[in-house]
Amino acid sequence: MGRRRSEKKIAGVVTLLVLSSAFVFRRDPFVAHVLVQASLLALISLAWNILGGGCGQISFGHAAFFGTGAYVSAILTTQYHLNPWLGIAGACVSVVFLSLLVGVPSFRLKGAYFALLILAYAHVLKLVALNLEITKGDEGIFSIPSFGRYSFGGMEVNFFTSKGANLFLILLFLIAGLWTGIWMRGSQTGIAMEAVREDEVTAEAMGIDTLRYKLFALGVSAFFTALGGAFYVHYIHFLTPDSAYSGYWSLMPIVAALFGGIRTVTGPVVGAFTLVCLDEFLIKELLPRGDKLVYGLLFVVTILFFPRGILGTWVERQGHGRKKEG
């Protein structure tokens, strides 16, 4: 029980930290842009981890969900002239449906079939986006609308010009994801998912419908990933198959989650903010080419020497300290 309470406390502190940093830097376009990137990666990483850390199903192709979410919203808003909010909703619904196409064939079997199948989907979807007319092939889709302009009383919010407005929006999504994760972990569903992660055969023997919980975790993960993808496309305003299905969206969520700690809910958020800030202010300065090599090395060192990640190791130390005191 102690661990769950400390998880809530950490999530609370992180929520306050990101919100206050957004408030401080909302008028600085460069820092706000870096924070948007960090929050976006944090959201995808958190979503990845609901499935990976929470349920033990490792995805090497979350770019499939991210890119499809981005394309659906882009197509709905540019070719069917829907409102971006409806575009986002459409993206989430279709990506959750897509996730069933990955989960249903592979989750009935035990083993790493899911990990490989989603990798194959990410490849094929990029190929499809390159060849279809509706996605405009390798030229990509341009002039994708922003979330528009609103005024509340005397205050005006313009998503087209203000990085700060977009920052608060992605933070809203991130915080929604974070607390969904915290709520899931504390619930019956989260406990069942944990059982599936630890030992699928035993979980099944105890009467847990493992297929159902794996699909549920996948659906939630796909939902938040699509949310991130659709946000991205209305923030950047253009989309190509390379940017939508970029290996970045498959690799970096895993690196961030591992680095932060896959056994915690908040770990991926901490990992993503640390990595993006390190990347912007340090690694890109030192290594203009091949900065991904650093992530590969970081990835392998983390999994070999501290597989619990920074937050996971910290939470564990806290736990041990308290036990000794008591």
């Binding site: 033990g56 490792i58 090497f60 064939p105 592979s106 009935r108 079997l109 790493a112 079939y113 990990a115 490989l116 199948l117 990798l119 194959a120 989907y121 490849h123 094929v124 190929l127 499809v128 390159l130 060849n131 279809l132 290996g247 690799l251 895993i254 591992l258 080419r289 091949g290 991904k292 090599l293 992530y295 590969g296 090395l297 990835f299 392998v300 999994i303 070999l304 597989p307």
Partner: protein, 287 residues
């Protein structure tokens, strides 16, 4: 559509199928014996392709020697790689993640060292067409298809008849029982892992002859290799040949009637179909 076009593509599809089997054999061996999916398999194959490319193009090494050289150098990399994997192999999920990370490191090393350019190993006498009765095929495809048959055949013989081969099969069927009857399973694991990596390296230059060497192309090789491994049935080496031919023939016929997009979709559809219809593979046994 002319008959000869279809006949030619069926012939090259058959040969490509044999090649696919060779590109998959390392992954299948490691998966069968150690139950580890080596997600860096494609990247190791590309490493062999780069070694072969520079040996053949830069130093004029003849092809057979280049194949052995690539196999040997990737085998040495595999030996070091094995000691990293062994540290955490009890944890199945972490091992899977680790092999993915090794693939990422290799891909980015290729990008740093060799840039993003696509390369092809161009050996003049291999690019010509040859007539096989009524059909014409590319000599490179033919040579590499024959080498593939040789390797698959040799490996099958090795596993069936030799002492070490029998120990490998015993260890892959039941590790504990094999250890009880005196098989040094640790040594067998190491041997199979290094052999699997060396086979990937050996196949590399042939991959560079029949296809493009692209620094980020490793993932696609790994996916195809895994699809064939599942289709063939866990650890079935001869089954790989049939699985490879199903994929190669299917793709070749689809390209005649439709676009390259559907070629990619075919591999995915095959994967999903196998998971639904026969997850134990064509030659596998239901557990």
């Amino acid at each position: 559509m002319s008959f000869s076009l279809l006949a030619n593509s069926i012939a090259s599809g058959l040969l490509m199928g044999a090649n696919y089997a060779l590109f998959a054999v390392g992954l299948s061996l490691v998966f069968g014996v150690l139950k580890i999916i080596n997600l860096a398999h494609g990247e190791l194959l590309l490493a062999g392709a780069y070694v072969g490319y520079f040996a053949i193009r830069g130093m004029g090494v003849p092809l057979p020697l280049a194949l052995l050289f690539s196999g040997l150098s990737v085998g040495i990399v595999g030996y070091l790689y094995y000691f990293v994997v062994r540290r955490i192999r009890d944890d199945e999920l972490n091992t899977l993640i680790l092999t993915y990370g090794v693939g990422v490191i290799l891909t980015n090393l290729f990008l740093l060292l060799f840039t993003a350019d696509e390369r092809i190993i161009n050996i003049p006498w291999l690019t010509e067409g040859v007539w096989l009765g009524p059909v014409q095929v590319n000599r490179g495809n033919l040579v590499s298809g024959l080498v593939s048959l040789l390797i698959i055949g040799g490996l099958t013989f090795f596993l069936a008849r030799t002492e070490t081969g029998k120990m490998i099969r015993a260890s892959s069927m039941d590790r504990e029982a094999a250890a009880l009857v005196g098989v040094d399973v640790e040594r067998i694991d190491r041997f199979a892992f290094v052999l699997g990596c060396a086979l990937a390296g050996f196949a590399g230059p042939l991959f560079g002859i029949v296809s493009h060497i692209n620094p980020v192309g490793g993932e696609a090789v790994t996916i195809n290799a895994f699809i064939l491994t599942v289709l063939a049935g866990l650890g079935s080496i001869p089954g790989l040949l049939l699985a490879g031919i199903i994929l190669g023939l299917g793709e070749a016929i689809i390209v005649v009637f439709a676009s390259t997009m559907f070629q990619g979709i075919f591999a995915l559809a095959l994967f999903v179909a196998v998971l639904f219809l026969r997850p134990e593979g064509i030659f596998g046994r239901r557990e």
